[in-house]
Symmetry: C2
Subunit: 327 residues, 2 copies
């Protein structure tokens, strides 16, 4: 027997042939022409421009995350670009929560078998979302993992590097009782809770809106901060509103969130009808608020966000010595 | 029917309970006490210490990669720590190829079902390898992906951020004909070519050494560069010696590599006996040389590396107007 890597399910030539196609997608994300490559083992990003911008105490902010099990439905629906887009969304909106601007992104695609057109579509979606969030795609990896993933499956992981001036960074340390809690509209379940979604969906076709691209808030939040003081932010992902808001509040502070004060996208009604309890919904999904900003000027923030094309509502107020409750 | 996230195969409470266990592992990797967390959405790394070290033109170097299909054998053998270690090895030794020192690491574990002890062991191995390579584990994600991975399977992806002074960065631009090509000993197949390995292994037990921890070269190479001018480096992974050496040489330059001038670990003999041709072996595996350093002072480099505990050999010389050939 002669065994070859190709017979074992790994096609190195096909992977190599993808490099220029990936590079073309990545080129669309260039903010400046300063990303350099020296031999191709790693992407290099000079910090001089950053220094020249006058950060007093620059700090890198890192996030890593996957698209999650939504990806299985996206793949079956042929929405490969969204599979890439959503991975970026999950990461850049974690990074922005400390006030950092997304700077660099690398993606890592794991495939059961390499489908070159699917892979390029995924990277195309990654690039689209990098453009949307203002960060540069500086590298990536496509790993062929026959036998490890389910037949035909792929997963997308990514890492975002952002930068923030530590003196201006957002976080619980800046939040005070009396601050307004502003909710930014989601466009559905985004890319969280899909193991539960898939369970109630079974073999049915996905309802309208279920597979929509995850909203990206990074530029909107940074734009908001140009006009209004933002003290903290919370990306509403797994764990829902309460668990994620808790990460943005100082110890002992809480809030009463009135869930009737915003429009809940219809997809959540559909999920409820399929047998998911309100309690489970609240602990798993964003329920219509995909990002939270905490600011002393809630009404003005809602106005500014409206001007940026984002529906938003003051959904509560930070209170001392209180738990977080959804009512 | 009432559907819950837990019934759907995702245990958020178990995932939350892992956070302090992960944090204890990450704490072992702290180089200084300067990593800060503001609300926990992203790890923050101040750049002040870096600036204080006098980099003239600091640049970030990014790499992202997976442990690959070796992980399936590691998991079945209970070698979860190695699954984490190898992911770091794949990344830090890409980053060091431009002369960058590994600085920060984030890991992303994808599991079919979360096994808390396996997950902590994986992160423990990540932390061990971060200590070995001098970088700090600043964040991570554990994604539960029921249905997407094969039953019981997990995968580990990671991203390394390194830093290099652009004026001193290594790469093909610095390499000249006449430079020595120094090969650093591998301890086996490392974490590459395992789809092929698994095919020839079948259901047999792995032979001794097959699942050894991947050697990490980052600190050794940086130590070498303290004593000898290193002009470029090539991490020998998928594609073997020729393809990876090519990434470290300027256009038009090549070399004749005499594969008899180093000790080939026994595992490669075992693979050959299982039916993998020499041609396929050369195109897939490192054959005993896991890292290449290009330097004008090969003999001295071998001596310095020996002092650092790394076996090394001058395996060729850079030549103009020549292909890369293994003889």
């Amino acid at each position: 027997m002669t065994a070859s890597y190709r017979e074992a399910g790994v096609d190195q030539d096909a992977a190599d042939a993808l490099i220029p196609r990936y590079a073309a997608e990545a080129a669309r994300t260039r903010v400046a022409s300063h990303v350099v490559s020296l031999g191709g083992f790693a992407g290099l990003f000079p910090l001089e421009d950053l220094m020249a911008r006058g950060f007093k105490r620059p700090a890198l902010a890192l996030s890593t995350d996957t698209t999650g099990t939504k990806i299985d439905l996206l793949r079956k629906a042929g929405l490969h670009r969204t599979a890439g887009w959503d991975c970026v969304a999950m990461n850049v909106d974690d990074v922005v929560c400390c006030g950092a601007e997304p700077l660099l992104f690398v993606d890592c695609i794991a495939t059961e078998r390499l489908d070159p057109d699917e892979a390029v579509a995924i990277v195309g979606g990654v690039a689209d979302a990098c453009v949307e969030s203002g960060c540069e795609l500086v590298g990536g990896e496509t790993a062929q993992l026959p036998g490890l993933l389910s037949p035909g499956a792929y997963e997308v992981m990514g890492t975002c590097v952002g930068v923030v001036d530590l003196d201006n960074a957002w976080g619980p340390h800046r939040v005070k009782p009396g601050d307004d809690i502003v909710g930014l509209a989601s466009n559905g379940v985004h890319s969280n809770g899909f193991s539960l979604v898939r369970r109630v969906l079974g073999d049915d076709d996905p309802p309208p809106g279920l597979l929509a691209e995850t909203a990206i808030y990074a530029r909107k939040l940074l734009g908001l901060a140009d006009e209004v003081e933002v003290r903290a932010a919370a990306h509403v992902t797994g764990g829902g509103l309460a668990d994620n808001l808790a990460r943005a509040l100082p110890d002992g502070c809480g809030a009463t969130i009135d869930v009737s004060c915003w429009d809940r996208p219809g997809i959540f009604e559909w999920l409820a009808e399929r047998g998911i309890s309100e309690e489970e919904m609240r602990a798993t999904f964003n329920l219509g608020v995909g990002m939270i900003a905490i600011t002393p000027a809630g009404a003005r923030a809602v106005e500014v966000l409206g001007g940026l094309g984002v529906s938003a509502w003051v959904i509560g107020e930070v209170e001392a010595n209180r738990p977080i409750e959804l009512v």
